[in-house]
Symmetry: D2
Subunit: 172 residues, 4 copies
């Protein structure tokens, strides 16, 4: 059995925010995907590569950032079996729709995820969401999705529910 | 959006073994699924019910145990969107094939999983495997599977690799 | 053997900061001492009471806050075998000296502690520091101390070392 | 300020038992003190050396094992500010008394500790007990002690309470 080749694109967002002990702030610095999340998972059947595109709070993302993400997805979608994208939750739906307008039918599953609480917290949902996204990127049909809290939301009809602190389909 | 109804059947196995501080042994007592695993996951879109069938090391399972598991799966497969089965790894493939012989094509996804290390250990693979199985039971097509270490193995061609401490397809 | 009666006074500080998933900020809200720290310790020989005085970043503490802390310590020092005080690290030395000026020789050990990283982080030093302070408040001679990173600093000659992210004696 | 020089002698016991994924047993293999416990503590003021004497369930310790421990303590007590000894709980009191008969008044604090649950479990008391013992070995007067669950028990009048799963003074 060939290992599945998965590409993880990191862009920042709450999931990757870390705490600075010198100034007491919590913000996006370097990607925490490998050190905090991937090394605790057992992935003997998966060949995972991590590519850090940017490290931004998604409220500060511009269309040129979204263009960079979309372009990276399109460039890489022939070399992998699936792609996951770590992204802030506040504008994840916008980036998803941006990518959807560029390429509504990618040749592989492209799965966005993030977290409501930074990965370094004991009760963060980061590890759950990344675990799920990694599996989803292997078994879903080709397409663009958000994977969050054990639920798959196909693009483009999905939005963050700020009250329930999770995602939901639009039209609900 | 209706929440997905998932049934978790627990049978014991390494994943559910716990430590007794009085006698220093590690063994299957009560199910740890709810207390140790499920309550740490965020499942706002999932309606999960847990049913403890037995609490056995899978090396001690008999055919009548397997019959009980198979029967429970068949009885319950109309009331849920998916079923996960917690099971010891040593004979998981045997129970899977037993169920497969009884009902090769269940109407919903039925996903077996377990762990190489009991759930109470900090570096256990239990939480990862249960997280994956819960998602797999929602998005896989109907059928019988083992989900383990971010990989899906459809019944019946799967076996434990005792050296690599994971599962693999037979014929590899 | 009588259980030791220990009073924990909480004032806020980094150790007690928590993350708000709605607005993404990290700040002092309610005391996390009981839920996050004490309930994970085994204290069969200790009778611990928690009293929340305030919930402030110590950079925002005023002399009237320090007066309130000092007064509480003096009032309670006859009813307990020891007192621990959770406090922000930035002005812990000032509050310690404030209390020292009011009462240089309390009748029981009074042990200040805090953390460089909020208690909710997996790699926080909060649990270590609280564990040590609870023991120190039982076995040190009467007096005012900071306990931090497995070291005891008697009042008043102690200060935070912002570069090394720990405390040190003055004069070093 | 000179860092305190602490020697940690490891002998095995529940605290150091680890799980073997191949055969499903839990037993004393190599010392877990450094990898599992010490590297998570912040010890900027402490110079800690670890010396593995043996790796035994304390029920299997013989008098010649106890002699080896006692001899090591005596040999090393001039080069350190304090010694901690990791030991199984079942016969910790016997080894303590053995050492006490050999040398009732060592020149430094010698603090025995262990755990009711192996260090690898999420809810183990190992980290708490080691954290406390490391501090106790710096601030207690010279002598032989058991430190356990935030309590100090001077030699020789201490025993395990198998029902309460902790230690207690004899004569209580």
């Amino acid at each position: 059995m060939q290992p599945k080749r998965i590409l993880a694109l990191t862009t920042g967002g709450t999931i990757e925010k870390s705490y600075c002990e010198s100034d007491g702030t919590i913000s996006n610095r370097e990607s925490i995907l490998h050190a905090n999340l991937v090394q605790r998972l057992r992935l003997p059947h998966t060949q995972l590569e991590v590519c850090e595109i940017m490290a931004k709070d998604s409220l500060q993302m511009t269309d040129s950032d979204r263009q960079a993400i979309s372009q990276k997805i399109n460039e890489q979608s022939t070399g992998y079996d699936g792609i996951i994208v770590l992204h802030g939750t506040d504008t994840m739906e916008h980036t998803l729709r941006y990518c959807y307008k560029q390429t509504a039918e990618p040749p592989i599953p492209v799965v966005f995820t993030g977290a409501m609480k930074p990965a370094g917290f004991e009760d963060s949902d980061a590890r759950q969401n990344v675990t799920e996204a990694l599996l989803a990127a292997q078994i879903l049909p080709p397409g663009l999705y958000i994977s969050f809290h054990s639920q798959i939301f196909p693009a483009p009809n999905v939005r963050k529910n700020k009250k329930r602190l999770t995602f939901e389909p639009t039209g609900d």
